[in-house]
Subunit: 465 residues, 2 copies
């Protein structure tokens, strides 16, 4: 068992080199895998939420506004469920619809503290309970806090380790820092601040937190529902580490293709009162589309022991079915390229972001006429399992979403797969995507989870491929 | 007189090198300066608009919506004047207001065709009439077209040279291409697609267009109201060419500072009916703030000869006074650094963009109590003229704004000027700003005009400094 490794000369001076070393450490004396497993099992055993669906009328602190029907918190804080009306035009096809959407116009912090032990970077991960999680406890970033959380609107305990992320940051230095979008079909222009900071000096321990190497985390990424969405998106800022080489298109060209889509595709978003949304109806217990597809908005009562606030009620968004997000990967000139799709989701900040090749709710997608089904869905669903580099169900944010599982797939295709793709698709290398993640709103959250999965797959190649 | 120059070996292979060469060409056999001057004078003499202010009731094709009071086009196209309600919180200070704002949810094209003549790049510039321009005709990009323009909603003539910018672009290749923001105080999340393309093969001439070198354009940038806003922003995508060297802060650090502002500064924007805007009133002739500050919305009747549509009426936004936009520039380790300010303007897409050190309407600013006046305004207003690298009045988009003049200033400060600045300011090199302009919504339009002015000042250093 390799616990730590000496740095090859020259490698460990850059952040990328140091993370490479951490990815190679598949176990660690700081938190040996067996110790982690016992600790995590105990966390899951002892920390449970009693989550009960309740009628909207039993929500405490939340109400439907008279004039609009919007579902809001009495304080005007946290988030609200409003209506969004959309009109799109692309390639001569017009499309209009309206839907409920979560409006949370504030930026939280998702941040991981890293620190070297015996020359190897470790990430400080938290066992965090979220009401919508399948197994209640998942591993989250060191800090996962809404602005209301960390500025005290919750009236709960102070957010542990927040001082590593907010000025003056006397005990840390910032490695990566950018705003990144979250689920565009469910959130209106939502972003969180994703940060990786390196601690300077000792970090006080706490029983709900563990230090893990990137190699340990990469292995956990092959299990379902262990590494939560917030951790996966922060980890996506770490460079891909391998798979580099000349790209089919220059980054200028990739940006220009995305600009072309943003300029030509019309997307007019307009917030409307929730009671003006068409084809959705509100019952005592849920807000639901008349087809039953998409998602429902429900109310839940949550009771627990070790969280900032001991018990509460809140709305949650429950997807109608498990989602599918998949990147097709093809070697071009020997270099792996991902097939990215410029997606316009309802709540997107800026017309389109690069998403996976396929991203949909497959049940609904397959119910559509063939020509309206997502491009390449058949390729992914018909895949030879031997082609799948990564195929794991992960869940989305359990603080807002109830049992929101997504099947994440990385699929290799051969040289028979055509390079010529429709104009809203483009081939990019992992290194190009890593460059774009330094900026906001280029990659959607599903693409970022897959980028994190890809780095894991490549790092573990010998073991897991 | 240098007309063209041979490229020094190796310089002219990169786009930056080729533009450097073009900047060194202060005159050109293709359009000699004297010929340009005669042509431009003739354009201004023969192409005039009769622009008359009219009461709103005389607008044709425009009306105030009953329910909202929004000023809209009967077709639902073009743009509308709506209300925007804002709430900001920064550094413990809350601020709320509402205002009229122009909503134009479509992306136009601002594009310049470039082509080598005798080995030197020339830009194809158009003499364009705009109703709000002080001298009616200014030099615009080759193409300056709203989406309605180039997709034919205007029912006017086809946009000349548009085929160099829209797919399949058989006769051009893209050099630079990105969406860039426009006036955030006046427009709701407005962007245009800024493009520089190089023509492949001959370009058919037209009497309203001329080929100019970057050196010729740079000289014209020292005159008022010749190079229009749309041209200035497209030109800002050309790298700074000089002034490079080590920066005080890494680009990661600059991005992190901006992310910090975006995460901590609250900016909640909500479109509201125009008739719900507070402290603004609508008369028969204008919509005006009760202090008379900021701007008015007016109606104009426009008659002309050589435009896509021969005569029309439209709303225009008329600023209450001439604006001031200034960058302070200080050498740090011998390398010039600009002092950028993270500004949150009402209609900004993403909380804040980097703007000039000072950007305000000085009359209004000086009417405020001293502690509320813009930081560094006194430094700019008290400047020794010998410190001014650039000091020219330019006007903003004459298609939407009536006589919107801005004084643009680049001012050198000495080493006595403190490096320590408030946290919403940061020192950046021109080369760092050029890197950011490859992406959207990092630099506001006033900063981009000044970046274009700075390249002109540096290129012409010997002549104009």
């Amino acid at each position: 068992m390799t616990i730590t490794q000496a740095a090859p000369p020259g490698v460990a001076t850059s952040a990328a080199g140091r993370f490479t070393l951490s990815a190679q450490a598949l176990d660690s004396a700081v938190t040996p895998n067996a110790v982690f497993r016992d600790w995590f099992d105990a966390q899951r055993r002892t920390n449970r939420y009693d989550v009960r669906r309740i009628p909207f009328s039993e929500l405490v602190g939340w109400h439907f506004e008279d004039a609009t029907g919007n579902l809001v918190h009495d304080s005007g804080q946290f988030f609200s469920v409003e209506g969004l009306s959309l009109r799109t035009e692309w390639d001569g096809h017009e499309h209009s619809w309206s839907q409920p959407i979560i409006n949370q116009p504030e930026v939280g912090i998702l941040g991981i503290v890293v620190k070297e032990f015996d020359g190897v970077l470790h990430c400080l991960m938290q066992a965090k309970m979220e009401p919508g999680n399948v197994d209640t406890v998942q591993l989250s970033p060191t800090v996962q806090a809404t602005r209301s959380n960390y500025t005290g609107v919750h009236k709960g305990a102070a957010v542990r380790y927040i001082e590593y992320f907010t000025p003056p940051r006397a005990r840390s230095r910032v490695l990566y820092d950018s705003l990144q979008s979250e689920q565009g079909s469910w959130f209106l222009r939502k972003r969180n601040r994703n940060m990786l900071v390196e601690a300077v000096g000792d970090v006080p321990p706490h029983e709900d937190f563990v230090w893990l190497t990137l190699g340990q985390i990469n292995q956990l990424l092959y299990e379902s529902n262990v590494i939560n969405m917030d951790a996966r998106t922060v980890l996506s800022m770490i460079p891909a580490l391998t798979g580099s080489g000349p790209s089919l298109h220059s980054t200028e060209h990739v940006l220009s293709r995305l600009t072309e889509i943003k300029a030509r595709r019309q997307l007019v978003q307009r917030t409307i009162p929730l009671n003006r949304v068409q084809r959705w109806r509100r019952t005592d217990h849920e807000i639901v589309h008349d087809t039953g597809h998409h998602f429902t908005v429900i109310a839940a009562s949550v009771a627990a022991a070790n969280r900032e606030v001991k018990s509460w009620t809140q709305p949650l968004l429950a997807p109608a079915e498990q989602g599918l997000s998949a990147f097709l990967i093809r070697r071009i000139g020997g270099v792996p390229h991902l097939l990215a799709h410029a997606r316009s989701e309802a709540g997107v900040l800026d017309v389109a972001e690069l998403g996976p090749t396929v991203q949909c709710q497959p049940g609904r997608a397959l119910s559509l006429p063939r020509h309206q089904q997502p491009r390449y869905l058949d390729v992914v669903l018909g895949a030879d399992p031997g082609r799948l580099l990564y195929d794991t169900v992960q869940s989305e944010e359990g603080g807002r979403f109830h049992h929101a599982g997504n099947r994440y797939v990385l699929m290799e295709v051969g040289e028979e797969f055509p390079l010529d793709v429709p104009e809203d698709f483009t081939w990019v290398t992992a290194s190009q995507l890593s460059g774009l993640v330094r900026h906001s709103n280029y990659l959607n959250v599903e693409a970022r989870t897959l980028l994190t999965g890809l780095r894991a797959a490549w790092s573990l190649g010998g073991v897991y491929a």
